[in-house]
């Protein structure tokens, strides 16, 4: 079995995001990029499957800032190989572009499963797992919290609002958008990452095409921070009114039923 795990770099949200002078994008020179946290869950689940039933785990990423460190970390954690797709363009790749290029690259690969993060903080145009599933025309599932491999199929558990979970058996090949792996992403000792780096196991491959820019028909007018960031919205009124509002808020998140 071969599991392909696409990973990406996202801005570290620990930092304040600065905008570029045109206000059309974040200042990519300024921010620090880190591995998308949900991709780490995806890799962990893939490695758990590998340990349970045996699999080749291949990590793939585009050439993005600090992506080498992420790929070497993946190798140190137990991925079998890591591919860096180069030449897809200098700028940020939208989810649609990313999915299109990955779908092309995957068409030349044999794989049973693609497991990737359920989302990324900069997904402005959909999530990778669904988009890729749609493009490849294979079954897919998102917000997955468990993958049990079978023969010719996998059983995925998806989390719905309020903690309800549904379990579905889907045929392979398939695409999974991972929310939470069955255990926390394992630690890669720094010495092992450094070993992987000095062994230099990254495979650089020309991307199967170039980014063609943002999708037609959607124009970004403005990017800006929300006004009331970092401060609670104060609920006014007396205790019964406040209680009423709190129950509404919880209900709107699917946490209680009205």
């Amino acid at each position: 079995m071969r599991i392909v795990v696409p990973v990406k770099q996202v801005p570290d949200l620990v930092e304040e995001l600065e905008l570029n002078s045109e206000g059309s994008d974040i200042d990519r020179e300024f921010v620090k990029f880190v591995a998308n946290e949900w991709d780490e869950q995806a890799l962990e689940e893939a490695l758990l499957i590998k340990e349970a039933v045996g699999a080749q785990v291949s990590v793939v990423a585009f050439d993005e800032p600090d992506v080498d460190q992420t790929l070497y970390t993946a190798l140190a954690r137990g991925a079998d190989d890591a591919v860096k797709l180069t030449g897809a363009g200098d700028g940020w790749l939208s989810t649609a572009e990313r999915a299109r290029l990955l779908a092309q690259w995957l068409s030349g690969q044999s794989y049973d499963m693609v497991i990737t993060g359920v989302q990324a903080s900069d997904d402005l145009d959909g999530q990778l797992a669904g988009t890729l599933g749609g493009l490849l025309g294979v079954p897919h599932a998102s917000v997955v919290v468990g993958v049990e491999p079978g023969s010719g199929s996998v059983t995925v558990t998806q989390e719905l609002a309020g903690g309800t979970v549904v379990t579905t058996e889907i045929a392979t090949p398939c695409v999974v958008g991972m929310q939470t792996a069955r255990q926390a992403p394992r630690y890669a000792p720094i010495s092992r990452i450094r070993q992987a780096m000095s062994a230099g196991g990254l495979e650089s491959v020309e991307a199967p095409g170039e980014a063609t820019g943002p999708a037609e028909g959607v124009e970004l007018l403005r990017l800006y921070p929300p006004e009331k960031a970092g401060r609670a919205e104060m609920i006014s009124g007396d205790a019964p009114a406040v209680a009423e509002r709190i129950v509404e808020i919880l209900a709107s998140k699917g946490l209680v039923k009205l």
């Binding site: 999530q127 890729l132 309800t164 549904v166 959607v218 406040v242 509002r245 209680v256």
Partner: protein, 319 residues
């Protein structure tokens, strides 16, 4: 280019989600602006169609194989719906269904996907949207001229009343042949039990601090916790007083928690406490001091007295 608006009806356990009604209300507004129809797409549980009075048309499919939710089946049905009506816009909540179907439908229907939308309105023939990205650190204003759009909209931001009105939409069943060659099989739906003593595993926490003022008062908070079926947790002063055992402590020297909702009563928010809970998905804080630091990390806050608020909450959440 079509002018119909399709809303995907999300339901679980025979109950339609609030977000669905919010989107029906928004879809009604947009369909009216464009002179199109509002189409509700209802998969599984056809008897729920009676609640979809805001729509002009309910396209539905019945069948146990749809389960609570089966991604491949829903996708095939939704693709059939958008292709068989004159659709321009599809609205789905930013949920498991939205993340699954929003993206794949956009890919297969050649539509422009918009994620994490928090505001949407028609501007003449165009659509203006605001999306929340970078975990809410930035907002993006978008002008959409694409002829086909799939929007996943964050729930809880719109009034749901407009979507709840009565009406008699046309009921149209989708040809079951659409589900002819599924490669997926729904297996089961499970509702988890309410949580245990491990506060790090609890989906929600009711947490008390120094403001609770005495061990006897814990009962007030316990009632709210019981009504929610979740454990009680506390900040350090409460633990130090021995009012609750150590495993219930949240904070630097206690447990780090990340529940879906953290309800803080009488907690001022020392840095050591904030470190243990600030990553909770939703934080609602009650403290009589309006400048308490807990309000810097809380999403919602109130300065009413917790002794007034707790019984009111228990009453509303009970039974």
């Amino acid at each position: 280019m079509g002018n119909d608006v399709v809303v995907v009806v999300e339901h679980d356990g025979g109950v339609i989600s609030d977000t669905t009604f919010e989107l029906l209300g928004k879809g009604r507004e947009l369909a009216d602006a464009w002179g199109g129809r509002l189409v509700a797409a209802l998969f599984g549980e056809p008897e729920l169609a009676g609640e979809l009075g805001a729509a002009d048309v309910v396209r539905f499919a019945a069948g146990a194989e749809l389960g609570g939710y089966c991604p491949e089946a829903w996708e095939a049905l939704l693709l059939n719906v958008v292709e068989s009506v004159d659709a321009r816009l599809v609205l789905i909540g930013t949920s498991t269904v939205g993340m699954d179907l929003g993206s794949s439908l956009a890919a297969r229907w050649h539509a422009a996907p918009l994620s994490y939308v928090v505001a949407l309105r028609a501007d003449g023939d165009e659509l203006l949207a605001t999306s929340q990205i970078y975990a809410g650190k930035l907002l993006a204003d978008l002008r959409v001229t694409a002829p086909r759009v799939v929007v996943t909209h964050i729930g809880g931001l719109l009034p749901s009343d407009a979507g709840r009105k009565a009406g008699s939409p046309a009921l149209e069943e989708i040809d079951p042949a659409v589900l002819g060659s599924l490669k997926s099989a729904f297996k089961e739906r499970r509702v988890p039990d309410g949580g245990g003593v491990d506060i790090t595993a609890a989906p929600m926490l009711v947490s008390v601090g120094r403001g609770i003022a005495g061990q006897d008062n814990l009962e007030l908070a316990q009632e709210v916790a019981d009504a929610l079926g979740v454990p009680l947790s506390a900040s350090r002063p409460v633990i130090d007083q021995g009012w609750l055992p150590k495993p219930h402590q949240v904070g630097k020297s206690g447990k780090k928690v990340k529940p879906k909702a953290y309800l803080a009563f009488g907690i001022s928010g020392a840095p050591e406490h904030l470190e243990g809970m600030r990553n909770s998905e939703l934080i609602i804080a009650c403290n009589t001091d309006p400048s308490a630091p807990i309000f810097d990390v809380a999403h919602y806050g109130t300065t009413v007295d917790l002794f007034d608020l707790l019984p009111e909450l228990a009453e509303r959440l009970g039974d």
